[in-house]
Amino acid sequence: MGEHMISTALVQAAEYEDANPLFPNMWEFAVAGIGFLVLLFIVIKWIAPKFEETYQNRIEAIEGGINQAEEAKAEAAALKAEYEKQLSDSRTEAAALREEARAEAAQIVAEAQEKAAAEGARIREQAHAQIEADRAAAAAQLKADVGSLATELASKIVGEALNDDARSQRVVDRFLADLDAEQQTQGAAQ
């Protein structure tokens, strides 16, 4: 069937010149071939490189944008870390300062207390000494005054009998000793 068809077609084709569709027209062959090569040259030289360049530029632009964003992000993170470090540093520094101040204050207080105590002791000591000295002076003064007063009184009472110094001295001493003894027995009784 197929053969019959083709042969019929061929017979029919033979009635017309160059009607066989498989037989190429060499001019058309040449024009299409050369036209294709010219177009290929144009594409290689101008069209394809421009498309590739645009494509490449776009890739770079997009990747550049991404890289920039990443850089900015990294920078921000670094800044944040630095700030945080500074913050914690200053916190520890403040804590240390506070601790130091507290210690210093305690020391100052202790020193002041010590000083005050020392001063108090010194003042007390001084007062004691003063009082002791005054008492001694007063006792000495009293002893002398009481002696002379008593002697004077006794001589006025007794008269000239008591002019002898040595004897009167002995009497006074004995009197005073008696007085002392009396006082002591009184103190002991108390």
């Binding site: 010149e17 001019w27 645009t54």
Partner: protein
């Protein structure tokens, strides 16, 4: 059946001075510059179409990418999409990431040259797919054939012939039959099928267009009767879906032609891989 039936119909019709179906010869239009016929057959519409395709592709894609904007406008977006289709779908997917870059221009030119020339068949007024003639189809297939053969010998030396004709892992006695077959299939039949597939599809589409047109015209204007006129109008209406089918065939054939080009080149690059 259809061939003889049609021709007998035509013959009987011719006797009655009736319908004359268009012949293949009529796909060869009269020359535009007949005085060139001294050296050949003159400068015809077919050649004009081929040159028009070159100029159109040049102009459209140059205009599309002129600005090289990072954020493309509509024209550039379309041009880049078309370019990326060939670059990625035909080039990268077939040839692989490593090899496809240098072949982009060739594949791009093959695809769009065939596509534009095919689409001329669907544009009223032009109505002429360049590759419905054997000459241009042979020229394209020949250039592709030369490319992959030269590339193969360049990459693999004389061994390329062995790689293309002696299948590996086949018992020796069988090679006596297989080697000539492989040679025929790869070096002779391959370019023929490559070109004839394109030519035959385009020619068939073109003949259908002629047949529909002339048949409808004959039925409507030359024949008496409502039935014949109605049939003519039905043919015209039926040719609308046929037109879209033809559009699909035109794009598909361009794609297949470029895809096969890529596959042949890939076969040359990796002839020793299998």
């Amino acid at each position: 059946m259809r061939g003889p039936a049609l021709s007998s119909l035509a013959l009987s019709a011719a006797e009655e001075d009736g319908f004359q179906p268009p012949t293949i010869s009529e796909t060869h239009l009269p020359e535009i510059f007949p005085w060139m016929a001294e050296w050949g057959t003159g400068f015809g519409k077919n050649m004009l179409m081929a040159i028009l395709a070159v100029l159109l592709i040049w102009w459209l894609f140059s205009a599309g990418i002129r600005k090289q904007a990072l954020v493309p406008g509509r024209g550039q977006f379309l041009a880049e999409g078309a370019y990326a289709f060939v670059r990625n779908t035909i080039g990268r997917d077939i040839l692989g990431d490593k090899h496809f870059k240098p072949w982009i221009p060739l594949l791009f030119t093959v695809f769009f040259f065939v596509l534009f020339n095919n689409l001329f068949g669907a544009i009223p007024g032009l109505q002429m797919p360049t590759f419905s003639h054997a000459g241009p189809a042979y020229a394209m297939a020949a250039l592709v054939w030369i490319t992959w053969v030269v590339l193969g010998f360049k990459l693999h030396g004389a061994k390329f012939m062995k790689l293309m004709t002696v299948p590996s892992g086949v018992p020796k006695p069988l090679l006596i039959i297989l080697t000539p077959l492989e040679f025929l299939s790869n070096f002779v039949i391959r370019p023929l099928t490559h070109s004839l597939r394109l030519m035959a599809v385009m020619l068939a589409g073109h003949i259908i267009v002629m047949l529909c047109g002339s048949g409808a015209e004959f039925l409507i204007t030359q024949q008496e009767g409502v039935l014949n006129t109605g049939l003519g109008i039905a043919i015209l209406l039926g040719s609308v879906p046929l037109y879209f089918l033809e559009l699909i065939m035109m794009v598909l054939q361009a794609f297949v032609f470029a895809l096969l080009t890529a596959i042949y080149i890939q076969g040359s690059i990796e002839a020793d891989a299998h």
